[in-house]
Subunit: 412 residues, 2 copies
């Protein structure tokens, strides 16, 4: 029988009424002839409550016990979803991570999935089970202890199951109805995309569109799992949501798929750095060790062995970056005249696989921003994206202008 | 190293502060040189919340899913207790039922313990673990699904661990400070017992003294596990609580150990029953099938092949009993003139292993009640107990008078 994976996040299973609504969607796919693996999160608020308990026990807690406590929220939802499906006469049962088993590394609280043997679930599908309700976010370590997968773990669980069981599709039910050309709160012209390529979604996810966790998109891309993002609060329909898929499946597309932004960036400039081989490592090594997430890097042309080095990072990490640079200077590892932090910048990016075959996309972006009087502070590009750092006050204007310039309100 | 089992009920782990207090008691025993197995219940209120969720999904729920959901409360407490002990620098880890493993039958929601292999825990004790915190009330079925043990399951878990690991003692921490000669709310002369024999405790537990679950006392008696009942809200001391132990360990004891009562009883009389071989089976078979817990039974002397049959049951089961008898009469299985239900009776019992070697105990009980003008409706006796059914309005008077007559306020 063809198989679907359906994942419901915390807000989609927050109450028994919502669990019932989600179960109806599952029942609809079973009636359509699918076997279904349902991945559930904890009822919203539950995981935070459990994390709070753990943190209250002390500051340096054992991640193994953290996992044992925090994973229990998903177990509750899995059982309740199975019961609700049974009440609708859909043959269902719940599975905890260790029962599947979902085998992970022993990196507690942020474990990686190693393997999902399919024998146990397939045996039960063979005996007439139509729905396996799996507690998301959790697995079992080689030592037999419960692990959790860390941030975005339930999305990742869903994609991993879809890959292991060869599912036709992996539907991620959330509280937004799909992926948009940009944030609808910034321009009402934002349009929901019917399809988006994995590579585009990956750039959008890591650029701040909080629909899907980067990790789950990477996994979907690697195993070519077709992902659909859709809202559990809308009426079911066959073309609901956004399909994230290999680019071959997208016949026509705009050159630019979307405009992403990241509001709280900082631009850091090290002035009068001694330019010598290994200087980049001497700067960015200590920053990485200090936990500073450096994003864009620009080095000015050297003038007499002296240069300026500019990088961007989240504004919340400026203090850490300053301390790391001062320490490196004090230790004699680098020399610079001063470190200037500009905390009032934002990043705006255009993303699209069409850029690969279309010249002039970056130029059109720069021209659009110039026409609006927006000064560009830093530029970085990849094959399918162009990002610029600008003054934060122009961010919304820039997003709107780029959305208009590339006519993203129109479908291809 | 000598080993103790310590069990903390729901009120003893209701908050993180209380978990900390319980952990301190555990730490004290570790400092005394014991390895400890701690059995925990869910934080009070949690299990009821989860049961409520399950019941909301529908009236005929799958007991396997019920178990998967309801068992999660104990997992949370086990992890939090392990973390709290670690914070106090006591080497501890949590164990869920399937990790131990605690092997049970597949009678979900009321499973029986089959075996507790000791290898896993003992290996960790050998590696330096001093405390194993075990989630109570749960185990794993032969099919690998989570089971729960039903009412009193956590006490039973504790006793079973004490038996399997040859523990020196099993301490049951609860919200009362021990077993009393009678309910202190009925007479201020009620005295806490230092020791009580298993057989006595069993009679007291099943007669309504709600300190320990009958099932756990039976298990303790079978495996000679010394049980101590004590309060987690009192300062620790070596002679706290009540020790439930083999009668050989009780040097001196009163003839009567305690006076128990059960308030909500009903006395049912079948009048003019045809007295023939098999009539008792014809009456009590249907009652058992209807789920009526028949306690005392008295049959009058037969007069011309016609007799009266009297039995007692909880007052809440009277309607069921009436229906079962009417149905049996309609089916022609029994014949009787009428069924009279007296819903205003209570049961009062005296219990003590000393009765075996002392004559006249029952006579003294009857005389005491007569002197108070209390009419006895039904009497039953066993080797170590005498029970009477009386009008409910005399219940407190009867308990007080018997407590005085047998001088239970004085230690032996």
């Amino acid at each position: 029988m063809p198989l679907l994976v359906m994942k419901f996040g915390g807000t989609s299973v927050a109450t028994l009424d919502r669990i019932r609504r989600a179960a109806k969607r599952v029942g609809r796919e079973v009636a359509n002839g699918y076997d279904v693996i349902v991945i559930v999160s904890a009822m919203s608020g539950e995981t935070n409550k459990l994390v709070g308990f753990v943190e209250e026990t002390g500051p340096f807690y054992d991640a193994r016990e953290y996992d044992a406590v925090v994973s229990s929220g998903e177990n509750v939802t899995a059982g309740l979803m199975a019961l609700t499906l049974q009440e609708m006469e859909v043959p269902a049962r719940s599975w905890q991570g260790w029962q599947v088993p979902l085998l992970t590394t022993d990196a507690h609280a942020s474990a990686r999935i190693e393997e999902i043997p399919t024998a146990n679930l397939n045996a039960k599908f063979g005996e007439g089970m139509r729905v396996a309700v799996v507690a998301g976010f959790q697995g079992i370590s080689p030592e037999g202890r419960i692990t959790t997968l860390g941030r975005g773990g339930s999305d990742t669980t869903a994609v991993a199951f879809a890959a292991a069981f060869g599912a036709e599709r992996c539907d991620i039910y959330t509280d937004v109805d799909g992926v948009y050309t940009t944030d609808p709160r910034i321009t009402t012209k934002a349009r929901k995309l019917d399809r988006i390529a994995f590579e585009e979604m990956l750039e959008l996810a890591s650029l701040g569109a909080k629909v899907l966790q980067t990790r789950s998109v990477e996994l979907a891309m690697r195993y070519k799992v077709r992902l659909r993002v859709l809202s559990s609060f809308e009426e079911p329909s066959d073309d609901a949501g956004t399909l994230v898929c290999p680019e071959e499946e997208i016949m026509e597309s705009n050159v630019v798929a979307g405009v992403a932004y990241s509001r709280d960036e900082a631009k850091m400039t090290l002035q009068s750095v001694e330019d010598r081989p290994g200087i980049a490592a001497a700067i960015f090594g200590p920053l990485a060790e200090a936990g500073v997430n450096v994003d864009m890097i620009v080095q000015n042309i050297s003038d007499g062995g002296i240069t300026d080095m500019t990088f961007s990072c989240p504004v919340g990490e400026v203090a850490r970056a300053e301390k790391a640079m001062d320490d490196a200077k004090a230790a004699g590892d680098i020399s610079f005249a001063s470190l200037i932090a500009d905390k009032d910048v934002a990043k705006v990016s255009i993303v699209g696989i069409g850029m690969r075959s279309h010249a002039g996309v970056a130029a059109k972006m720069f021209q659009t921003l110039r026409d609006e009087g927006v000064n560009i502070k830093v530029i970085t590009t990849s094959e399918i994206k162009v990002s610029v750092l600008i003054d934060r006050k122009y961010m919304e204007l820039a997003v709107q202008a780029l959305h208009d310039a590339f006519e993203l309100e129109k479908a291809a």
